[in-house]
Symmetry: D2
Subunit: 268 residues, 4 copies
């Protein structure tokens, strides 16, 4: 192996020596612990910048908004994993996070990716954004693609988290071009009498884009938030379990139909 200096990979995340520990160029014990909150350090880890107070409040609100959503498939998978391996809670948390794919948490990233295909000037007029949004919606329709970040099975008219996140972003003067574009996309998709709501993933993705969070980090931020909810579910599972109830329920209610028709696609 060559160990020539110039070919070595680099990292900016952290280093630990006997005397000090650094995270993203900051002294951990002197500059971060007791000074910056946990959400602020997560922000630092994904942007290499410390957040200002407004950003801190909004970023915390996004994390809080996504932390839990009740007995989702993700929470149930975590609890069922705990049933079989209570000694390894890291496995149960991971099982829960692994459901954070395209159907749920992917919305964050998909929305961010869509918005960032377009470079919008911070001082774009509403009329400009309107026409950009119309073009974007047309383009998705032509390609038969679904616009990410819109619609919700339960919150059919407005997701209360979205309303609140926008309120906080306005209070902190952090509504930027990505969020405004997302609102115009919503209007372009909605029809009179039929408002399609922006969902939590959609607004979260747009707001984090305006905060300068990398597209690749959007789903990651949502995963940290979701990890908090999963740990809550697992602590509860140690006291009032529902894993075995769920197992019994499945065994008693799912019909075993013996051999299915062959799955062989050649006979289709």
């Amino acid at each position: 192996m060559t160990t020539q200096q110039q070919q070595r990979p680099t990292t900016s995340i952290g280093r630990s020596t006997a005397e000090s520990i650094e995270v993203c160029g900051h002294d951990l014990t002197r500059d971060l612990m007791g000074e910056v909150d946990f959400a602020g350090v997560l922000f630092l880890l994904v942007t290499q910048r410390l957040p200002d107070p407004g950003t801190t409040r909004l970023f915390n609100a996004v994390l809080v908004a996504l932390a839990d959503h009740g007995l989702t498939p993700s929470a149930l998978a975590a609890r069922l994993t705990y049933t079989g391996a209570p000694e390894a809670i890291q496995g149960a948390v991971s099982a829960g996070l692994l459901g954070g794919g395209s159907v749920f948490l992917g919305v964050f990233e998909d929305t961010g990716r869509m918005l960032r295909t377009i470079t919008v000037s911070p001082d774009a007029q509403d009329s400009d954004l309107e026409s950009i949004a119309d073009t974007l919606v047309d383009d998705y329709a032509k390609r038969g693609k679904r616009i990410p970040g819109l619609g919700h099975p339960v919150h059919k008219t407005a997701d209360p988290r979205v309303t609140r996140l926008l309120e906080i972003a306005e209070q902190e003067k952090l509504v930027g071009p990505n969020t405004r574009l997302m609102q115009h996309v919503q209007r372009a998709v909605s029809r009179p009498g039929h408002l399609v709501p922006i969902n939590a993933g959609g607004i979260g993705g747009a707001l984090l884009c305006d905060l300068g969070v990398d597209t690749a980090a959007l789903r990651g931020v949502a995963l940290v938030s979701r990890a908090a909810g999963l740990v809550g579910h697992l602590v509860e599972e140690t006291h009032t379990p529902l894993g075995r109830w769920l197992w019994d329920t499945a065994e008693h209610n799912v019909n075993y139909v013996g051999s299915s028709a062959s799955l062989d696609p050649r006979s289709a």
Copy 2:
């Protein structure tokens, strides 16, 4: 399946209806978002209580202290997983968390479990704690068990994170009986001229016990913190990767020795 009311399992974590979302009995959008920081909501999820300001500061500091520790096996596993599956960052985060077992993050839980075998009164005298610690250390020695939460391969005399966490806990008047007992355990193990340091997992476990965090939640809290560091590493991996360098390094430096002696324990 019986669906009689009294046999149904219960949850206190969360619920979502068309109108509102609740987390642990609190209205998410009105009482938590914009009002309580993310660490506070994690605290709520694992204790069912909102933290006061001192607890919030100390709990944040514990989370910040553990978020990252550079290129640990955990961070490397996450990066290598990303090399093979960049489209599924949830898998890479999970791969990193799965290393949070007995050797590293388990220290948290092991320390908490040890301290909680003993019920210490909040107003115990130092002389009482001294004799309790001596008995506990003797007992571990007799059973040939290692005391958790002590010693560190790099920070041989004092882990700077431990010093800082104790400082913050003292500022917030949150040094309780578990932490004091841990300090007496340290003294009971150390010899003149050879101080065995408390490590970050040890002090974190003790402080969280004093904050009333359930033993089952200790490792979980550490996992949420670690998830933040892992997402930082993975965002960096998308820009300046080291996964393939690590692969090459292993392939070029590990000797392939063909067939090893049989692993059959019958021939031992």
Copy 3:
């Protein structure tokens, strides 16, 4: 980094060059593919020996016995994970495997570990084994520990897989001292009119010990077997899903009780 030859780690598992690929000292394409079945290669990977025909038949039977057990928590966790991340089937398989801990698959390893605390001569008499088993059972009772590998919630008198595995092992003359000891342990625990059955994990662990499989490999072998069942469940999930039904069932049947009593162990 030092790259001196003598400090480099070694591997016997495999190597790949432009000309050939080796697995455990065998040429993959010439000696293994088309010549040795997949179970035989798994046996090679964990013992560094190719199995003889009797071992091949018994090892396959153990793997087949454990491959699936219907809608277990493990299968449900995999299906729920697929619901959220259908694009990453590796995550769903992993979520299923993560439930393979102490409660279910751990039995394999626990049984092997128990049996291997004792060195039994291959030509031990039944009378010797009887007294060894009595001592072992007494010892577990004194320490308040549960004997692993015995009892089953459904198969209360005899697990049909155990009967069949013993039959195959006898046909192949592969009942060795570990399996005989396990049978004596069973007798030592049972009472007249109340036979405690050996379960599948218990007999699997004992038989694999007799085949010379390393204790550390026992749970691993069970995981490979279980992976097959999980992939079966996931392919079915793509055609006839039950993940969303399970989600609905949980949401409609689990009572949300708002705030629980505080989980603070200090108030206990």
Copy 4:
């Protein structure tokens, strides 16, 4: 919850009662254990059909071909996870599998998906296949997409596993239209003097399509195979570890560069 018969989901995978255990409509202990090898049961689980002897041999050869490939990122991630959590081998296996995404194991599925966009008659002439392949390659080129299943970083002219799999498939008369199409695709892409090799994922995907394995199952089958290799690496890791060596190597060779330039895409 409604429990009306017609709304219950169904399963064909397995059922367990006190008397018998069924897998895909077959009695586990009577019809499968000792009668069908493990690969055959995996085939049953993913196709709902038992394989004939030729299919059994070829399917085993595909599984054997993919079981291990030395110190891949996947194997390294598994070993590093074991370093931190040796008590939970299921976590280490999972960490390894989680790298089985688009870059490596996805090739299987991508190739199958490409081949199955076209319905090729089992008795298609070579001249027909030639023109189908030309059209397909043109279409990929126009859309700027890479043809899956071709090329290999190490085996630049021919992957020895591919040669051997084709040999076995011919011996068993199991080269079907998907595999023949794949060979024509290879020819359409190659230029005189520059043969682009089919890789192991590509030929595996094509052969499994010809065996009637569902597209959704292709990556799953590869994951079961890979699990065997990972368990081999982990058993070796318990005896001759390399996880800590890899950690040291990374810590000593990766340059910590303090704060990186901000990752903020707004400043790009």
